[in-house]
């Protein structure tokens, strides 16, 4: 492929912003002297996995936080399903169908695995204000939750306390909760971290299928997984997207190649 086909910030990208399910446009975020997001424009198309790679401290997580609504950008806009969601908070974006999994698991650790997943279904229904009916008696919520657990392979552990799960199982649980939201897009922050090689391989297969349900914006340090999964890759360095393109296009970039020659700035 021609290196010239790389999509760096350009007028064509602006056009694509309108067509894609999720897009950022010129997002800037500064923490004191640190420019964590420098005019970031990227998008996510239907049916794709778009991987975001870059060295530690490149601003990947900050960007995800802004897309999810936990941090407000200083400048720029975020579009989701045709809406400008820049001013919406996390819960409102989630209700539009933006599902997220965390780098450091955020789960109700005292609750059972099933309760954690049911909470997702509850959020998807939009009205948690029922005070009398036992939530576990709701067959609709239960079925959705059990189906989601089945898909990630945690069905046997439904009654286990979430805090007792292994690191990798917590990741699977996060994905299961995300599934119950019937999302229109996934944001996944290092879902492979802490998984063994077999777990990692299984999740890779799973995510590969999942992209046809809803596209995935993926942050991942496991380069084998990224190269196996991604339809497109964006490279973030010092808060700036230096390149966006297919696996083959990004692979040959000098910055990325350096990573495989053992440059410490990259971890993969």
């Amino acid at each position: 492929m021609r290196a010239a086909a790389l999509l760096v910030y350009s007028p064509e990208v602006r056009q694509e912003v309108a067509d894609s399910i999720l897009a950022t446009e010129g997002v800037c975020k500064r923490f004191g002297a640190l420019l964590a997001s420098d005019n970031v424009t990227l998008d996510l198309h239907e049916g794709e996995i778009h991987a975001l790679i870059g060295p530690n401290g490149a601003g990947k997580s900050t960007l995800i936080e802004q897309i999810a609504g936990a941090i407000k950008p200083d400048k720029g806009k975020i579009y989701f399903r045709g809406h400008n969601v820049t001013k919406l908070n996390t819960a409102e974006r989630a209700r539009l169908g933006l599902a997220r999994t965390f780098q450091i698991s955020a789960l109700a650790l005292e609750d059972s695995v099933l309760q954690n997943v049911i909470l997702g279904g509850l959020g998807a229904q939009g009205r948690p204000y029922r005070f009398f009916k036992p939530v576990l008696a709701s067959s609709a919520l239960r079925e959705t939750a059990e189906a989601a657990l089945e898909r990630v392979g945690l069905a046997q552990l439904a009654r286990t306390r979430a805090g007792e799960l292994s690191h990798g199982q917590k990741r699977q649980l996060e994905v299961a909760v995300a599934l119950t939201l019937k999302p229109k897009a996934f944001l996944m922050d290092e879902p492979m971290a802490g998984l063994g090689s077999s777990g990692s391989a299984r999740l890779t297969t799973f995510l590969s299928e999942l992209r046809h349900e809803a596209p995935i914006l993926l942050i991942e340090h496991d380069m084998d997984a990224v190269f196996a999964l991604a339809d497109r890759i964006s490279v973030l360095v010092y808060g700036k997207v230096i390149a966006t393109g297919s696996v083959d296009e990004v692979r040959i970039l000098p910055e990325v190649r350096r990573a495989y020659l053992g440059d410490d700035a990259w971890d993969c």
Partner: protein, 327 residues
Amino acid sequence: MSREGWINIALILSLLAVPLWAQVADEPFLITLSTRVAIFALAGVGLNLALGLGGLVSLGHAAFFGIGGYAMGILASHAQSYAPILEVPLLIEGTKSMPVIWLTALLVSGLVALAIGALSLRTTGVYFIMITLAFGQMLYYFSISWPAYGGEDGLPIYTRNNFPGLNTLDPIQFFLISYVILCIALVFISLLTKSSFGLALNAARQSVRRVETVGISTYRVRLTAFVLSGMMTGLSGALFADLNRFVSPSMFSWQTSGEIMIFVILGGTARLFGPVAGAALFIVLEHLLGGISDYWLIFLGLLLLAVVLFARGGLIGLLAGSPSRSG
């Protein structure tokens, strides 16, 4: 049934048995003590919803306790002086009817909880504690400086208010009223804990991000819990005022907030019957130790220290072990 379930049944039955026995044995003072337990327990059940289930450490629940008290005091004092509360634009008269007083107490404490909660729930941790404390103290000083309803001296009500079909001046009948209300509150909380709302509130205490990420606003969930919590404590304030036939600014004081919190912690935070066990233990200690020494609060302090250091689950936790999970 779980061990905790049996302990709960034993607790609620003994709270009924003691005054019934006292009635037969002609020990009216014991009936009054039991009534205090039931009313304090109700205040604690209210706080426990915010504190135990929601993780909201409110040091301002005296605000709602006092508002319940003054709702009763104001309505009843106008009824006994035959002076309407308001004539223009519409006539509002005082009342001696308990159900009307309770509804007023619930409504007003709910509205005040909505206002206090809406502001203080924007903060967390120590700031939340301080803001709720500040609101409580604001109402305390307001009640002291408002002469129309007794100011610092408080407001005596000469006869107990009425409940259709009952003689409320009979101690055992008034106990039964308080007891039934406590039971209704306990049933409500036990349903709420297992409901959708309970799941969301409980999860919000453990991980705000988790709850926000599934599209549920933790602010609204917590505000709802705070309002319900304030309403229950407000209702207990109305009953407490009726028990004493007296309302005073001390109901608003931060010591009252602290005592309600002590009921919850002594009995077991986030345990359904924690406030019942805690209030009972508190009253028993107050009665036994208070008879020995005026400095009984020192012993209470030591006990509280022991509970916080060695028995986080409080009395219920000590007797029943770790909480059982449903699901």
